[in-house]
């Protein structure tokens, strides 16, 4: 499976296409290009972990830390996947389409952020392709977990609506263990390890784990990709390095890493577009945690579980299962729109920043916090996804990778700075107030936002650090995802998304990657690569392919 090269080889390795990263942006493009006949090599900085190594264990060194990265910045911490399959392996597989108004957002640039070619309508056929490929399923209310059901009941009690969002989960296989962030042991979560990636490999794509790309250089008519080989246990240790040449390079290392690779490449490639490493968005994310009054839940909401408990089910479930979309209202002003999603984070990530409601002393640590932890089973955490103002800027790159690694795995210090503007802060304040209004009615709960004083703001959905757009001054990529001024380099990951989406972004990231493939195929053909576009879904399904073929009559099935 690996084909690591080391320094000293006399003739550089060559391939048609190098893809950096194996999350949605890498896996989807790898599949289509390999299926179309191109020679594809995927370089992934994290390990390749089979599902029987996804452990239910918080111990350092188990899959909880092997496949997950926490990069602290200045005012923003970024959480994400670090493994073959990228974010899809650690995420909660919640897959809503972005609301229509999102595509008309302006942020603070005084014009539409998104390319004119992309609207909700024009993206629908690409959403459909991903929905067929993973696949994505509707959730029935009978599948809503206890925390999701409680959130729905609280919303209803407050006169709001609530929805079980679509998911890429086989709920029949799911045990509701809530260990999703350590990888799904039961293969219930339809990560990329189950669809695009094995299909890409079956078409000849090579996936090389523990290969961390550092920079690109320009050689005679092609790009040279420089990488380090990382130790499989201590990610602070480099055990080798090498290069590989390609006619096309697709960067899909994630919004926290793609711009850093380009920054480091600037000395060789020449000036980067202004928007590389700027306009980073944390998807407007923020969390509130409530302590539920169990008696009130029974008496006021009429909820009970077998055995007499009313709730006490914080640990049970599969991340989010119910969201409130009442504020996804395009008639509201920008920065006032958000979704509120019930969510579970495991202890550690999910407990440290929570603040004790009503604490008189410190709220995230100390006596009151410990008392809050005693009631952990009765916690209900609500995830805000709002409209931030693309405030993030990457500083000078670290010596290697996208962070100086502190711990053997997981924890690092990155170069991202983020200072929320009044618009972002206003959105957060409005969302906090909405949550409080919903949850504290009739004494059903006491709620408080997580602190931003400890690690700054935080996001599990980093976006926009190398974004698409029509305006060269505020976008790094054209609407075909090609890096401005550097033909043959494409970016197809979350960094290409122009701004916050107000919902979970994975499906939109994936749809944009699907949409980018035909242009990449054209660019490859222009460079003499024998490749065509038109593969079915990874399992052979073709109905969504038929829909996108209508967009371009020259494509044939």
């Amino acid at each position: 499976m690996t084909n690591a090269t080391t320094n000293g080889s006399t003739s550089p390795e060559q391939t048609d296409v190098v893809i950096v990263g194996s999350g949605f942006g890498g896996a989807i493009t790898a599949y289509h290009l390999a299926a179309g006949g191109a020679k594809v090599v995927v370089l992934e900085r994290g390990p390749w972990v089979p599902s029987d190594e996804f452990e239910h264990d918080f111990k350092l060194g188990t899959s909880s830390t092997r496949i997950f990265d926490f990069v602290a910045g200045d005012g923003m911490s970024v959480l994400g996947g670090n493994c073959v399959g990228g974010g899809s392996v650690v995420y909660f597989a919640t897959m809503p389409r972005a609301p229509r108004f999102v595509f008309d957002r302006q942020g603070s640039i005084g014009r539409r952020m998104w390319p004119s070619a992309i609207t909700r309508d024009t993206l629908e056929p690409w959403y459909d392709r991903v929905a067929e490929a993973l696949p994505i399923s509707r959730q029935d209310w009978s599948e809503a977990t206890y925390p999701g059901g409680l959130w729905a009941a609280l919303c209803d009690h407050a006169g709001r609506t609530a929805n079980p969002p679509n998911v890429a989960i086989d709920t029949a296989q799911c045990t509701n263990c809530n260990w999703m962030m350590a990888g799904c042991r039961f293969d219930a979560k339809r990560s990329l390890l189950l669809n695009y990636l094995p299909a890409a490999v079956s078409h000849g794509a090579q996936i090389r784990p523990l290969h961390e790309v550092q920079r690109l250089t320009r050689e005679d008519g092609h790009y040279r990709v420089h990488y380090n080989v990382i130790d499989d246990e201590d990610y602070r240790v480099t055990v080798g390095s090498g290069t590989i040449d390609a006619k096309i390079v697709i960067l899909a290392a994630g919004a926290g890493a793609t711009p850093v690779i380009l920054q480091r490449s600037e000395a060789s490639l020449g000036a980067m577009p202004h928007a590389v490493g700027r306009y980073f968005s944390g998807n407007g994310e923020r969390l509130n945690t409530a302590i539920i009054d169990e008696d009130k839940v029974r008496d006021v909401l009429g909820l009970s579980r077998p055995g007499g408990l009313a709730y006490a089910a914080n640990q049970i479930g599969r991340g989010p299962s119910v969201a409130s979309w009442d504020r996804l209202d395009g008639s509201l002003p920008e920065f006032s729109r958000f979704s509120l999603e019930q969510l579970y984070f495991p202890p550690g990530l999910g407990t440290i920043l929570a603040q004790a409601p009503g604490a008189e002393g410190p709220s995230w640590f100390g006596v009151d916090k410990k008392e809050m932890l005693r009631h952990w089973k009765s916690w209900l955490t609500i995830f805000i996804m709002s409209e931030d103002n693309n405030e993030g800027v990457f500083g000078p790159p670290p010596p290697t990778g996208n962070a100086v690694r502190i711990s053997q795995q997981m924890l690092g210090r990155g170069n991202l700075s983020y200072e929320p503007t009044p618009q972002t802060l206003r959105g957060w304040a409005e969302a906090d107030a909405e949550i409080k209004d919903i949850m504290e009615r009739d004494g059903l709960a006491r709620v408080r936002p997580w602190t931003n004083d400890v690690v700054g703001a935080y996001t599990v959905h980093p976006l926009a650090s190398c974004r698409i757009g029509d305006d060269p001054a505020t976008s790094a990529l054209d609407d075909r995802h090609e890096l401005r001024g550097h033909p043959g380099i494409f970016v197809t990951d979350s960094s290409a998304v122009p701004g916050a989406l107000t919902v979970n972004p994975a499906l939109t990231i994936a749809a944009l990657a699907e949409r980018a493939v035909p242009a990449i195929v054209s660019a490859a053909r222009e460079r003499g690569i024998s490749v065509s576009y038109g593969a079915p879904a990874p399992d052979g399904a073709t109905s969504a392919r038929r829909e996108v073929f209508r967009l371009q009559p020259s494509w044939t099935a």
């Binding site: 188990t62 609301p99 206890y146 410990k370």
Partner: protein, 198 residues
């Protein structure tokens, strides 16, 4: 007067350097997740809360795990903390028990007040203190120094306090009882036929 652990001050000759540092780090961890005193006369654990806290949960064991990346800096951390504590006490005229490392000599309220300044957003050493604090929390909340199944079987103080459920016999968690099983709210009227926001 600054009482650090290296060199051990004259009045601290009853403690080895290692004991001094251990006491300092335990007092630090206890400030984040406080616990009941482990034995009569326990100084490091101030006894500010009922039940075991971060120290009994294994905070020092986790901090001393090389994989954290902080283990090499613990001696400096203890010394620095005692220096801050001595300065804090001196500025406020707080009498210091000279038989104890300066931070452990402070009362719980004073320890808390000092820590609040060290982890405040504008403190220049904030990242250093917070990084260490995160592992103190993780010891209590996750028992990250040991495997979770064994930790639960041994009655790990943090996981037990939080009510973390026991796994199935194969060491994996499954919750077959997971849903109220009925619709509990109206769905948004503009939900699309695909089940998405409009």
């Amino acid at each position: 007067m600054t009482i650090t652990c290296q060199p051990v001050e004259e009045k601290l000759q009853n403690l080895t350097v290692e004991q001094c540092r251990t006491m300092t780090l335990e007092a630090f961890a206890d400030t984040f997740v406080p616990g009941a005193k482990r034995f009569p006369g326990d100084v490091a654990v101030a006894g500010a809360a009922a039940g075991p806290g971060a120290v009994e949960a294994g905070a020092l064991e986790l901090l001393e795990t090389p994989a954290t990346g902080v283990s090499d800096g613990l001696a400096d951390l203890a010394d620095s903390l005692n220096e801050h504590a001595a300065q804090y006490a001196a500025e406020r005229g707080i009498p210091v028990d000279r038989d104890l490392p300066s931070f452990a000599a402070l009362g719980f309220k004073q320890r808390t007040e000092l820590i609040e300044t060290l982890v405040a957003p504008d403190h220049p050493e904030k990242e250093f203190w917070i990084l260490t604090a995160l592992f103190c929390f993780m010891a209590f909340d996750t028992a990250a120094h040991t495997d979770t199944v064994s930790a639960l079987a041994a009655g790990h103080p943090g996981l037990t306090t939080m009510g973390f459920a026991r796994p199935d016999p194969d060491g994996l968690w499954r919750f077959p009882d997971f849903s109220y099983g009925r619709q509990l709210a109206r769905t948004h009227p503009a939900t699309t036929p695909s089940g998405d926001p409009a």
